[in-house]
Each structure stands twice: as C-alpha cells, then as structure tokens.
C-alpha cells in the first residue's frame, strides 16, 4: 500500500497508464496542448487516488466488521462503538460502489452485519442507560429503604440518597457523553438524517418513565404555585398603599415581584411545559383579576370625586353661611377639597402605565433566562418555540393594559361623563340649596325676633342672602371647573400659556396663579420645575 502513496511511484504509474499519450507529447508544438495534457494527467491521478482510497475503505470495512463482532462478543462496547464510528465515517458512495464490484456479496454481508451491530449497540446502550440511571437507582432505593430504616432508623434514608445522587450525577454525565457520541457519529451524515436521529433520541428521552414521572410531578406542582400566586397577588392588592409623592402605588411592584418569583421558580424545574404553564397562569391572573382591580379603581374615577368635593364644599358653605348669619358676619370661606380621591385616580392611571412597563421588563428577563436554560437541552427548539409563544402573549397583556388607558381617555373625550355627572349633581345641589335657603330665612327671622338689639334690616335681608348664596355657588362651581380644566386639559405644562393672560380671550379665570400651580402639581406627569418656571 505504502509505495502506492509515494509521489514518484504515482507519477510513473500515471505515465504508464497513459502510454498512448506519450506519443502525443512528442508531437506537441504549442503550450496549450501541453496544458491540456497536464490536466488530463491530473484527472487520471485523482481517479487513481480514489481507487486507492476505495481499496483502503473496503479493507477498513472488513476490519470493522470483524472487530465489531469480536467487541460485542466480549461486551467491549467502547471498542464496538469505535468500529461503528469508523464504518459510519466511510464514504457511503464508496461503499455503494464496492457493492457493485466483484466482491459485492462479501461487502453486502459486511454491511448488513455492521448495520445490525449498530442497531443492536444502540438498543443495548439505551437499555443499559435506562436500567442504570433510572430503574437501577429506583431499585436500590426500594430494596434498601426497609433495611436502612430498620437498622439505622427512619432519618437515615437521606444518607443513602446523598450517595445515590452522586452516582446518579455520574450516570447523567455518561448520558451526556453518549449524546455527544451520537453527534460525532452523525458528523458526516446528511442534515435530514441528523435531525431524524436527534428527534429519535429526544423522543427516547422524553417518553421514558422518568420524564413521565417528572411531568406528573410538575402536574402536582403547578396548581399549588398558581394558587400561591393568586392569593399573594390578592394580598398585594389588599395591602396597596401609595406613599405621598409616589407616582404609583405599592401593589404594582409587589404584584410583579410575585409573578416574577413564581415563574422563576417554575423555571428551575427545567421543564418548558412547566414554565409555559406558569406564564399562562400569570397572564390570566394579570388579565382577569388584576385588570379588574385597576378597572374598578378607574371607574371610581376622578370626576366623581371632584363633584363630591364640590357638593361637600357647597353644603359646608351653606351651613357656614347659616352660622355666620347667626353670628352676624360672613366669613371668607376656605374650602379644603379632598385631594385624596383625585390623587388615587391619578395614581391608578399611572399604575396601569407602570404595569405595562413592568410586563415588558419581565418578558425580557424571562426571555434571556429561558434562552440560557434551554439552549443546551435536547429538544430545545421545540421548548424555545413554546416559550416564545407564551411570552408573546405576555407582551399582549401589556398592550391590553395600555388599551385600558386609551379607553379611559377616549371615553372621556367621546361622552364626557364629567359633564353628565355634573348636570345630575348640580340638580341635586340646587334642590338641596332651595331647602337650605328657606331654612336660612327662617333662622334669620327667628334671630331678628329674639334679638331685637341687632341692626338687621329684615326686609332687605332676603335679596342679600339670596345673592350671596348664588354668587358663592357660582364661584365655587366655576373654581372647581377651572381646577378640572387646568388639571386635565393639557398634555404639556407650557400649553397653559395659550389660554392664560393675554391669550385668555373673553375668559376671566378665577384661580390665582398660585392656585393654578397648586392644581398643576397634582399632575404626576408634570415636572415641578416646569410648573415653577411657568410665567403666569
């Protein structure tokens, strides 16, 4: 074999092969012809090479066939695998060609033997693997448990398990090596064959008793985790507090901390089904229960509370009026409006915004965590596809929450419930006002009669009271309206200047610049510097 390989010999051989062409060379006159002949010679040389290679391969094939049988007989699986590896790395076309030669039956027999050996080795390895890793260890636990517990006491099983776990890890390492071996064996195979082999292996591992049991266990775990998540989310909602000056309240961050924790815990199972199930449950918790909470808070809303303030303000104005009249003087009225309800509404709006941001962050984090965890595992493509799909649902949740904001805003634009509620409330207010007015007059009458010493022109008093109350009402309503306008009409602080001072047109604002600033400060999205800087 070896002398075939030396260049000198090869060249002389090639020359001998083309002895016919030697004459041609002699008659050559130009370089072109020479080049063509050289190319022909090279082609001859290449073919010769291939012939030698094929001879080599056929010899190898025989060697492998004999070797693998001996190795299998001796239970030397490493050696058998090495032979099969060599066989698999042989050029398949060469093998095909060999079958057409004179020795075809012998080659066919070798091939059949090798393929058979490959299959039986694979089956054997698989069987051994399952036995060793799963059944083996389970059996050890089963048979040793009574002995250990009887002779060493109940708590001692743990010690046995620690030792077994070590062995389990070693075995698992071997499983991984075998996966790598498969990959090497397939290195030269076609793409489709590689995929098929991988799928077989994945199915093998996926369908084994162990992974069934794991899935079952996950089946028990998920309802517990889901229950825990729901309950703690409810708790976070119940404990919701908004610190003064904070743009959003405690529950948004709490809820996302909980959801993140639960999904992360599911992630440690290493099962994509487990992670997906928890992501799905998280989505449904956020989209149903939690969304409901936000919607309810939004519905309780800003306008209603303002009107309640207004109502309260006028009611207290009327009663103040009564007492003032009794004392013979009218006090200037400072109306403390309840800012809390308004702030709560604005915080909720903000909460919705923060929630959808949190969801996006959560999605990004989970995406990278999952990519890290599942990239090396068998069947990772499928796992990744599932997770991607569930994560994209999570992102949809964010946009659904954003829609909530949009809905809220456009609803106000479309059928301004503020005005509708204002009308209703004003009607109530007026009815009450009439009653109070009458009561007022009676009180004044009584006063005058019981205390004649007071300078109080009785007849002139009615219009005074009426005018005062009316103008008081008007200005209260106007002030509240103005506050609302300043608070909700502008998307940027500077826009106010379009309606203020020289730009105010026919409007005369009742609010002072200081009051306007105060109102604007309630807007969580306005920066206080901008408000201060405003030249009113």
């Amino acid at each position: 074999m070896d002398e075939f390989g030396s260049p000198a010999v090869r060249r002389s051989n090639a020359a001998a092969f083309s002895s016919v062409r030697t004459e041609t060379i002699e008659s050559l006159t130009d370089l072109d012809d020479l080049e063509r002949v050289y190319a022909q010679l090279c082609a001859e040389e290449k073919r010769l090479y291939q012939a030698i290679q094929r001879a080599d391969d056929i010899l190898d094939l025989k060697f492998c066939t004999d070797g693998v049988q001996t190795a299998l007989r001796n239970q030397d699986y490493e050696q058998a695998a090495a032979h099969i590896h060599r066989y698999l790395s042989l050029d398949q076309s060469v093998i095909e060609l060999s079958r057409q030669g004179g020795e075809s039956t012998a080659v066919d027999a070798s091939l059949a033997l090798l393929q058979e050996a490959e299959l039986s080795l694979k089956a054997l390895v698989t069987k051994r693997l399952e036995e060793a890793v799963v059944t083996g260890i389970a059996r050890i636990v089963e048979t040793h448990q009574p002995i250990v517990e009887t002779y060493y006491g109940p708590g001692r099983l743990y010690t046995l398990l620690t030792h077994l776990q070590k062995e389990c890890d070693v075995q698992a390492q071997k499983v991984r090596r075998i996966t790598a071996d498969f990959e090497i064996a397939d290195a030269t195979a076609a793409e489709s064959i590689i995929r098929e082999h991988q799928q077989c292996l994945e199915r093998l591992l996926k369908d084994c008793q162990l992974s069934c049991t794991v899935q079952e266990l996950i089946g028990y775990y998920i309802p517990m985790e889901e229950y825990y998540m729901r309950e703690t989310v409810n708790k976070a909602v119940a404990m919701d507090t908004a610190e003064a000056g904070q743009l959003s309240s405690s529950m948004v961050d709490d809820v996302f901390y909980i959801v993140k924790k639960c999904i992360s815990r599911a992630l440690t199972s290493g099962s994509s089904d487990c992670v997906c199930a928890m992501i799905n449950h998280a989505i449904s918790a956020l989209e149903t229960d939690f969304r409901e909470v936000l919607v309810t808070k939004l519905r309780a809303g800003f306008p209603a509370s303002t009107l309640q303030d207004l109502h309260r303000g006028v009611t207290s104005a009327v009663s103040l009026m009564q007492s003032s009249l009794q004392q013979g003087k009218i006090q200037s009225l400072g109306i403390e409006s309840q800012e809390q309800a308004k702030t709560a509404y604005l915080v909720t709006l903000n909460n919705v915004q923060v929630c959808s941001e949190n969801i996006s962050t959560l999605k990004k984090n989970l995406e990278s965590d999952c990519a890290k965890l599942f990239s090396q595992v068998a069947g990772s493509e499928q796992a990744q596809a599932k997770i991607d799909s569930c994560l994209s649902d999570l992102v949809n949740t964010a946009s659904k929450l954003k829609d909530l904001l949009q809905e809220e805003f456009s609803e106000y634009e479309a059928n301004d419930p503020w005005v509708q509620q204002l009308v209703v409330q004003l009607e109530q207010l007026m009815a009450e006002f009439k009653v109070k007015k009458v009561a007022c007059v009676f009180i004044v009458d009584d006063d005058v009669r019981s205390d004649g010493g007071r300078v109080c022109p009785q007849v002139g008093l009615y219009p005074v009271i009426y005018d005062t109350l009316t103008s008081l009402m008007t200005s209260l309503i106007a002030m509240e309206l103005e506050k609302t306008i300043f608070k909700s009409s502008f998307s940027r602080v500077s826009e106010i200047l379009d309606y203020w001072g020289p730009n105010s047109g026919p409007l005369t604002w009742r609010l002072t610049p200081a009051e306007v600033r105060q109102v604007l400060a309630l807007r969580v999205d306005f920066r206080s510097e901008d408000i201060k800087r405003l030249r009113l």
Binding site: G219, C276, A277
Partner: protein
C-alpha cells in the same frame, strides 16, 4: 416588533381523551403524514402552520395537549388564550364520547367565552368498528352550540377541511370584532347566519 408575514394569528388547542388521535390529526395537517406507533403525548406539543385562504395569510399555532388526566394542570393553562378548541373523540370508542360533557365543563371553566369550539369524531376509516352514530354526535354538538366534523387522520379525510374551516370561522369572528369595535354596521354577507362550514373552498 418585527414585521410578521401573516394577516392573522390564531391559537388552536386540541383536547379530548387519550388515544382519540389528536396528535395524528395535527401531524397529518402540519406534516402530511400518519405517524406509525404514535406514543401518548406528554404535556403539550406545539406546531405552527401558515395557510392562505382567499389571499389572506393565516398563521395557525396549534397546541396538541395530552389527554391523560395526570397532565391536566399543564394543559388547562392553555385554554384561556385559545381562539379555537378542537374537542376530539374517537367514533370507535363510546367511552371517549361519554366523556364529552366533562370536557365541556373544563371549557366552561377555563376557556374565554368567545372561544370557537368544534367537535371532531376521528377514525372514520374504521367504519365497521363505529360505536357512536353520526346523528347522535351531530345532535349533541348542535345542542352545545358546537360545529361538528368527522375525520380520519389515517386516510387524511377532512383533516385539511377541519383546520381550514376553523381558520375561516376565526377570520370571520375577528372581522366581526373589529366591526363591532368600530361601531359600524356589518357589511353585506357578513351576517351571523351564514353557514361557516361552507364558506371555504378547501381545495
């Protein structure tokens, strides 16, 4: 977000007793084959196929769930986001038909209320072993407001039709929803009383 190459994306979830042929239906539709020796599904399998219906590209995300009771808590989590459910039973197995009310309770409990449900009787190639009469199943489906179709994953009977018809219904519902949201009157021919199952030209 990246531009995706489809007009609609729908999630379809297959449910039903173990062994009725859910996985075979999905494999027939997505890969065009009838898998020999198909083992029981563990957990959930996931496949995607994009189809074109009258020039509209529809991406179908198909979740094939395990029928076995012990995997229920994993599979249930997929109901809520499903646009359509394919509730499958085996026409040669009375038991799988009798379990349907139980499955309907699951749907009631976990799915969203706009979900489209289709009842599928599979394995019609085994006509001589039939245990559930077609009429009985049809009546049941109608009473429960479900569409009904009989298939054979093995002979590839009605499998394409199943998924394409479903896609048609879902497109229609999606269009209806956007119409509702835009508060405008339905377009002529978009009325509810058109038979969904005849709307598609499957071939």
């Amino acid at each position: 977000m990246a531009m995706e190459d489809y007009d609609y994306l729908f999630k379809i979830v297959l449910i039903g007793n173990a062994g009725v042929g859910k996985t075979c239906l999905v494999r027939r539709f997505t890969q065009g084959l009838f898998p020999p020796g198909q083992g029981a599904t563990i957990g959930v399998d996931f496949m995607i196929k994009t189809v074109e219906i009258k020039g509209v590209k529809v991406k179908l995300q198909i979740w094939d769930t395990a029928g076995q009771e012990r995997f229920r808590s994993i599979t249930q989590s997929y109901y809520r986001s499903a646009n359509a459910l394919i509730l499958t039973y085996d026409i040669t197995c009375e038991d799988s038909f009798r379990c349907l009310p139980e499955w309907l309770r699951e749907i009631e409990q976990y799915a969203n209320n706009q979900v489209v449900t289709i009842l599928v009787g599979n394995k019609i190639d085994l006509a001589d072993k039939r245990e559930v009469h077609r009429q009985r199943a049809e009546e049941f489906a109608e009473a429960q407001n479900m569409l009904y179709l009989e298939t054979s994953a093995k002979e590839s009977d009605n499998v394409e039709k199943l998924f394409l018809d479903l896609a048609c219904v879902l497109i229609r519902e999606a269009k209806q929803n956007t119409l509702d949201n835009n508060d405008s009157a339905p377009m002529p021919g978009e009325g509810k009383n058109i038979s969904y199952l005849s709307c598609c030209n499957v071939n």
